[in-house]
Point group: C2
Chain length 331, copies 2
Amino acid sequence: MIEAVEAEMQAVLASEPSVDDTFFAMLQYHMGWVEADHTPIGKGQAGKRIRPLLCLLSCAAAGGEWQKAVPAAAAAELLHSFSLIHDDIQDQSPTRRGKPTVWKIWGAPQAINSGDAMLAYAHIAMSRLFERGVAPDVVVRALRRLDETCIELTKGQYADMSFEQRDDVTLDEYMQMIKRKTSVLVELCAELGALVAGQDEVTIQHFGQFGLNLGLAFQVKDDILGIWGDEAVIGKSAATDIETRKKTLPVLYGLARHDGLRTLYQQPTNQNGFVPQVITCLNEVGAREYAEKEAAAYSHNALHHLEAAAPTSEGYKTLYDLALKLLNRMA
Amino acid sequence: MIEAVEAEMQAVLASEPSVDDTFFAMLQYHMGWVEADHTPIGKGQAGKRIRPLLCLLSCAAAGGEWQKAVPAAAAAELLHSFSLIHDDIQDQSPTRRGKPTVWKIWGAPQAINSGDAMLAYAHIAMSRLFERGVAPDVVVRALRRLDETCIELTKGQYADMSFEQRDDVTLDEYMQMIKRKTSVLVELCAELGALVAGQDEVTIQHFGQFGLNLGLAFQVKDDILGIWGDEAVIGKSAATDIETRKKTLPVLYGLARHDGLRTLYQQPTNQNGFVPQVITCLNEVGAREYAEKEAAAYSHNALHHLEAAAPTSEGYKTLYDLALKLLNRMA
C-alpha cells in the first residue's frame, strides 16, 4: 500500500522540462526522495506514511477497493507535508528527521513558496480520484473536506503561535488547538477511506470519529512521553518539553493547580534543577495520571467508533491491529 | 457584479464564534474590510477586483448567467489575495495599498499561516459552484484549474526570486516568469466564466487565451510605465524600477544589447545620474519600442481571441469595452 501511495505522490510531484529542477527538488527533498543536490535517495528515508496507510486501510475495512483511495491517501500526506514545511519556517526549526529543513537550505522566501506549491499539489492529488472512477460529486466532497481540514490546521497553528504570548491558556483551549493542528488530519484520512468505499453517512462519521480520537490519544501520549518518556526515565537527557517550557497538557494542568510550579515558570530562565523540580510539582498534583486518563478515554472512543462502524470485511482486522499498535504507546 | 463577489467572499471569510477573532481579522484586513484593530471599513478601500469582474463578464459574454459564476470569481480573487500576502513576506514589503502589510502587523509566522488559510478558503469558494447548481464534473474541473493556476503562480514566484541571484536572465525566461506569476490568473478568470456558461472546448480556450494575452499586455505595459511612466515624465520622482534595479523587460532587452548599460549595472551601488544614464542607454537600443511592440502584439492577440469566441450575447460588448479600457494603458 505504501509503495502505491509513494508512486502516486511521485507522479504528482514529477519534474517538468519547462521548469528549473530546483523547484521540484525542494518538494522531493522534503518528501525524502532526493538530497539537497538532487541526488536520488534509496528507500527507507521517507516519513512513516501512517496517515495514508490509515486512509487505505479504512477504505478496505469499509468494504472498498483500497486502490481507488490511493489519490486521497496521497493528498492527505501532501497536505501534511505542506504544513510541516511552513511549520519549520514558523518555528525556525533547523532540522527534521535528522536533516536540514527546506528553509535552512533554500531560505524562508523559497520555502514559503515551496509549501504553497505542496498544498496545491495536495489538491491535484485529491482530484485524481476522478481518474480512478470515483463519482464527481464524491470528488467535490473529498476536495471540500481537504480544504476544511486545511483551514482547521491553520486555526490550530494560529492558536499554537498565539499561545506563546499567553499565560492563561486553558486545558480546553489547548485540546482544541491540538485537535485542529493534528487530529483533524487523521480524521480526514479515515473518513475519506470510508467515503471512497461508498459507505453511508453514519459509517463515514464513525470512521471520522475513529480517526479523530486516535489522533487525540496519540497526541496526548506524545505530551506524556515528552516529560516522562524513556529518555527521562533512563536519565540520558532531561525531558525536552520541560527544558523548552513547552506548555503541553500535563504542564497546563499543573500550572492551574500548583503555586510552586507557576513560580518556577515565572522566572525568566531555567534555574539549576529546573527539570526535576517541575516534574516533582507535576507529580504532586497528579498531572501524569490526568493525562493518562485523557489519553485512555480518547483511545477508548477511537476503538468504540471503529467497532460501531462494524465493517464485516477482512480489512477490518488489519485496521484494528494498526490502531492498537498506535495506541499501544499508551501501555 | 462586484457587490455580489464581495458578498460571496465575505460569506466565505466570515468569523466563527469558536475561533479567536484575530484569525479572521487578518484575512478581512487584507481584503480591505476591517482595520488592524477589527474596526469595519466603509466601501471603497478594497482592491479593484478586476479579476472577478473579468470572470463574471466572460460568463455573461459566453451566454451564461453571471450569478452562477460568482463563486469562481470570488475564488480567483481569494487566490490572488493569498499570493499577495505571501509575496509581501517574501519581498519584505512594508506596505500595500498605502497600509501596513499583514506580516508587518502580525509578524511573518502568522502571515504565512494567514496566506495558507486564504488559499484554502479560495478552494472553499470555488467548491460553492456546486451549491449554485453547476454540475459536479464541471466543479472538479474548475477546482483542478484553480490548483494548476496556483502551481503556475508558485513556479513564477520561484523564478522571480531566483532571478535576483542571476545576471543572465533571457527575455524568454522573463516572459515565462511574468506569464506564470500574473497572466495565468487572468487566463483562469476568463476561462472559468466560459466554463460555467457551459461553452464548448474551443470557445473556453479562446476565452482563456483572451485572458492570458490581456494579462501579458497589461504586465508589459506595467514594465514600460515603471520606466517611462507619468512620474518620470513629470519629473516628480525618478523611475522607481530603475532605481531599484528591477530587471524588467526593457532593462533585460537593453542589458543584452548595450555594453555601457551592463557596466552601469555591474557597479554595486547607483552612482550619481544613474537613472537618466540608464534611460539614455535604453533609448539608444530602442528598448521602449521593443516593449511597446510586444505589448501591442499581446493586446492584438487578446482581442483576436475574444472576437474568435464570437459570442452573440449582449454581455459581449461590455467585456470588449473593459478589455479595451485595460489595454488603453497602451495608448
